[in-house]
Symmetry: C2
Subunit: 458 residues, 2 copies
């Protein structure tokens, strides 16, 4: 199986990035009834080659430039294998102590590497935790915020126990997970004020201040704001220090969603804008599974006050009671997340950091940022194309000067070749093609070849 | 690494089940600063042996009888390796079609194997999905239920948009995740009516009917009930058909939490009580990661109306729009769960079912049930012990006749030997030792040796 995986990675460049399949093509090749008797591994590998691989989008392909990368690496794949092989449960410290302690420790390492403030260190009142995704991270933050803003009344009494209607703030370009979390948490998606963005995709401060003012005047309670560090559309970074200033009088919880861009803070020269204002955030999360070579799922979430999260999410039924938990001397990560059970995900982060080392991770990020600048320069030089804004880190947004329809058609034709995958967004009212560089196997040649293909199809 | 994992499994029987460590013991052995340069894999394996293994509770140990099992197997470990090695994202059908289609297909297989009703098949209006855990499954069900009960008003408008206060029902022995979900979903933990149980741990029907009647009389809206099939305390099975009957006039969503016991339905002779009434459930979930040899995380959740879930959880931001989703011909699993991203977890379920075959899985479950009966008979024959109730499937609850303090002390002394792990619960007001049989490596000898150890310590 290890060999099969290695061969798969070696074969990636020769494959189409996206499959040429219609709905139902895979299922039509699978037997309708489950297997009664054992099937040899060789048959399964043959089915993988014949049925599964031709119907995958290859996220580890060197010419995968869509969405944001979900990059894996040898060390992280081995870490996942190890976690599965050990098969332990880290819901409580007591259910497998090393699982909890390694996670707390590696999250402290990562905080250090990113230059995040000490308030997020586990030695103080805060600490880090691995969630499956940024969506779960923002939900956890929002539930903790809700509880804090209502003097701990809503967890028991529900949202109707809040003295005033709760309202949250995020930019129109914030990730859809903010809306989703507000829906799940019973606050309602309509209670998320979608603050306009400026020409560079950043939350508009006067608009935020006006929205907060209007809500407070109407008797509503600003309880939560999500600042985006690296928007999905164009990589924009919201002005966190100013947002914190506007919300400070209302004691709203400030969450930072740095899902993709957070990884760039590992490079001191890229760190400034990424972590600016983090010392005023209540929670700050990013995905090592996007740009730091740790395979999905690995969202790193730090909070400055871990007790706020625990008091919103803790359940301690009789069958989980134990001396270590009752001593208060340990972390029980089940109280920091939606699920009860948890895998030993710290292993893949630990193995990636150790087997690659921080210096190599910095070079990895730097290369992509340099290639994005190079790609953007090529776009800017071609009169048929328009760079919609300067690249943010390794994300380039561009369009054809001929207009949205032409740009959309170009993207469709480009992706139909199967030789690369790019996706789209709306940037400043325009239909934009996004070139998101960050894959584990991507080289400069892949970036340049994609530009040549674009230029030839344009 | 594969060899290291294989050696670890071979070493399990010779290890203590639980570690002898104090809080901080692991972290004190880890370097305070993150690694700047690469470390060889051999050094990492040495650290695993020296620091990590001595501080784990070995959930795959043959004498692990605590909580419920979280059993893994060779095929499922390989499936997890494969999912990590492919590194694809299955959030939408379009982002990797095989990832979605294999999941829908394997969940149909599993529905078939368990004898669950056709309303949960993907060919109709329902279908199955893999969640990380039963906790996430009940949260998803509750959010869908909330939306359905309020004419789709609460997702946008929040819980305060409900015309009447929402109330849910579960037994006092239901899993803590029902409370946690009600807290997260903004309904409030206090809105979960904890219905008393009868002498066998099953939801008391007159008490449920009275609670529903009182709530309706007070103008509240019964919107959700969680029936437990295999309670954590003693494996009790709530009388689902009668619960459905009581709730039918109120159109409440009926969720079945069969997290552990659901696996037993794979055996026709054990199926009856496990799936009774499932044809009236709106959602039904169990954990292949508990008793069916698929490593955590793998919670199988079926719903009878997938559109109810999608309309509560869907977000379709611009950057995720695609022709396949808009055609309505595909499943986009991101709309069935809290997170956006998702791993290719169907692979481990597919590989486990194929490499072992259904017949072997049935024998696996049958052996454990038979050993539980044998163990229970030994308990019943010893005058110092008392069987608190007949074993439910492979779970045996017992105590010392000398009383709770003596029982508690016996459990502490038993676990302190490191030779096995059993945990406790309250059963019928008594402190009970739980013997939960279901591990991947457990043999009849391990069960008998644990009895001999108990008898000698008593």
């Amino acid at each position: 199986m290890i060999d099969w995986v290695a061969d798969y990675w070696a074969s990636l460049a020769a494959r189409r990035v996206t499959p040429d399949v219609r709905p139902g093509d895979v299922r039509s090749q699978l037997p309708p009834r489950p297997p009664e008797s054992p099937v040899p591994l060789a048959d399964i590998l043959a089915d993988l080659d014949r049925i599964i691989l031709p119907a995958l989008t290859h996220w580890q392909h060197p010419a995968f430039f869509g969405y944001f990368p979900a990059s894996a690496s040898g060390p992280s794949i081995l870490g996942e294998l190890l976690a599965a092989g050990l098969g332990v449960q880290g819901m409580l410290w007591a259910t497998s102590p090393a699982c909890t302690e390694l996670e707390a420790h590696v999250l402290d390492w990562l905080r250090d590497l990113l230059g995040l403030p000490k308030r997020f260190a586990s030695a103080g009142a805060g600490g880090g935790v691995i969630q499956d995704s940024a969506s779960s991270g923002v939900l956890v933050a929002m539930v903790a915020a809700r509880e804090r803003a209502t003097a701990r009344r809503t967890n028991a009494g529900g949202v109707t126990a809040s003295a005033a209607p709760l309202v949250a703030y995020a930019s129109v370009d914030a990730h859809s997970s903010v809306d989703k979390a507000a829906g799940i948490a019973g606050i309602g998606r309509d209670a998320v004020r979608k603050v306009p963005v400026d020409g560079l995709g950043r939350m508009d401060l006067p608009a935020l201040a006006a929205a907060v003012h209007a809500d407070v005047a109407a008797g509503r309670r600003p309880f939560f704001a999500a600042a985006t560090v690296g928007s999905t559309a164009c990589g924009a970074i919201d002005p966190l220090p100013a947002i914190a200033e506007i919300l400070a009088p209302h004691s709203a919880w400030l969450h930072v969603d740095a899902a993709w861009a957070g990884a760039a803070a590992i490079c001191p020269e890229l760190r400034g804008a990424v972590v600016a204002g983090a010392e005023r955030a209540d929670s700050w999360g990013f995905n090592p599974h996007k740009w730091l070579l740790v395979n999905f799922d690995c969202h790193a979430l730090w909070v400055s006050d871990r007790q706020a999260v625990v008091s919103a999410l803790s359940t301690k039924p009789e069958y989980l009671r134990n001396a270590a938990s009752e001593s208060g001397a340990v972390i029980d990560y089940a109280d920091w997340q939606v699920p009860l059970g948890r895998r030993f995900r710290a292993l893949k982060l630990w193995m990636t950091l150790r087997m690659l080392g921080a210096a190599a991770l910095r070079e990895h990020v730097r290369r992509h940022v340099a290639w994005a600048r190079e790609f953007a320069a090529l776009v800017a030089e071609d009169p048929r194309f328009e760079l919609l804004l300067a690249p943010n880190l390794s994300l380039v947004c561009f369009a054809l000067t001929a207009g949205d329809d032409a740009t959309r058609e170009l993207l469709d034709r480009l992706n139909a070749t199967g030789r690369c995958l790019l996706t789209h967004a709306h940037v400043g009212g325009r239909y934009a093609i996004r070139m998101a560089i960050g894959g584990a196997t991507t080289g400069r040649d892949d970036v340049l070849a994609t530009w040549r293909l674009l230029a030839s199809l344009a």
